[in-house]
């Protein structure tokens, strides 16, 4: 069996970053874009914790707790904004939100 090392975690995290970025750039549904952003934030968390373990330094884990908290705040605000928009425009498709020129 191949032992799991820091490099494996970094690869997983890089893959999540890639998936998230592609999701943000190509998806039209705003909810899915939001989920993709969350995916990137989780990639960050995996990185931080893997490094924290490799360096035997607690700073990374504390940082990860802050990132999780921030992700929650961001999701709450994002969904709130989306609901306000949906009430007026009845759509969550990014390409139909085109009142202002992109």
């Amino acid at each position: 069996m191949h032992p799991i090392t820091t490099v494996d975690y970094l690869c997983l995290s890089a893959a999540l970053l890639l998936i998230g970025t592609v999701g943000v750039l190509t998806r039209r549904n705003v909810v899915i874009i939001l989920m993709s952003i969350e995916l990137i934030l989780n990639a960050v968390n995996i990185n931080l914790i893997a490094f924290s373990r490799a360096l035997e330094n607690l700073g990374g884990q504390i940082f990860a707790i802050f990132v999780i908290t921030d992700a929650v705040a961001e999701a709450a605000v994002g969904l709130g904004i989306l609901i306000a928009l949906f009430r007026n425009k009845e759509t969550v498709q990014a390409d139909e939100i085109d009142l202002l020129k992109w």
Binding site: V44, L48, V67
Partner: protein, 486 residues
Amino acid sequence: MPGNFATASDVIRFLPEIILAVMGTLLMILDPLLHRRSSNAFGHLSILALAGALGGAIYAYLNGGPAFGGMLMVDGFATFFGVLVIVAGILTILPSYRFLARQGAETSEYHALLLFSVAGQCLMVAANDLIMVFIGLEISSISSYILAGYLREDKRANEASLKYFLLGSFATAFFLYGVALIYGSTGTINLAGVNVVLSGPGAPSLVFVGVAAALMFVGLGFKVSAAPFQVWTPDVYQGAPTPISAFLSAGPKAAAFAVFLRIFTTAFAPIGHGWEPLVWASALLSMTIGNFAALQQSNIKRMLAYSSIAHAGYVLVALTARSEVGTAAAMFYLAAYAFMNIGAFAVVSHLSGKGERYQNIEDFSGLAQKQPLAAAMFSIFLLSLIGVPLTGGFFGKFYIFKAALESHLVWLTVLGLLNSAVAAYYYLRILVMMYMREPAEATEAVEPLSPGLRLALIVPAIGTLFLGIFPNWVLDFAGKSSVLLK
């Protein structure tokens, strides 16, 4: 050491943030009590809070130094930007009285969010540690996302807010990924610590650190609306309530530049030759895209948004110089820019009318005949944005290009100067409209200047002229504070 969780000096150095956060919370609690009496009470209270924070910032400076085990650094640099964002907050509230009354949207949330946003910016500018940078950035950004969509019945505001939020959190995520890589490769998140590791022997591989610096550059570049991460700026500035557009172009931008300067000139100073071309290209691109796109705009808020992209480009020129003179020039420029841009947006907010109907450049026709004071003040701001002598904008540009020349950035200086010449055209067009045309529908309907708006025009105008006539006073302080801890 649990006993030393926060010493008295920590609390003193953290005073502005404490005052703002407490007052913001208090405003929301007092909402039901105050709402029936006077809708102006919220504005008065937030100005009081910001004035208190201003006092707190100065008191903190007099007792300056590191706080919370070096996570914050209250030095001249932090105080300069702290005072700048607090003043930007005050200048945003002044035109908001009349604006909110006209839209029938006076609530405590508006003011509370503004105070939280300023608190976040105060934290950002004093941050000496990547966790603090991140927390400050997010407090400031999340409040700004909501403020941009504050008029929630307005489709344009909804859209502006959503775009700002999506692209903003995407950029933050990138920034964080960069921070995680820095943590992994250097083992520290303290800016001075990163500098020590990068310049010492056995520095981590440049590829790894380079990727991290590039990711952080993407995140910060978004926050300061530098090209090629500027696409959100025109939409958000156009859709957001006008006083908030003014605020976004001054407060969060200045704070993000402060973080930019602090991270790139302290932590990443040892790899300066690596990031310099990146910032060079971004500066040139921002100036060019901003100015040439602004030429074609008919909506004044969009035009000012593109102009703000161009101005971000000028400040990036100062950053490219990688010198203390450059840092001081950027600080001076951001102060001058905050005054002139908030003033310009205050005039737009005054003229736009109920539901922000009048936002076109043609709507300014004949303003000088109807309201000479507003037109005169707007002229001062526009001339300063062009960079005419005797205004803050002139000395701002002068010092930036001087710093660039001292660092042998001849081409960037030449292209930057050509850009400022292009910019003169679209600012002068508004002057022509105001002074040489007959009054149109918008200017006929314009309401008399309220006391708050009068102040919101006169104070930035005095600030702009002061910086243009006595630049040394501010520049000396900026020069002294630009010597950042390495």
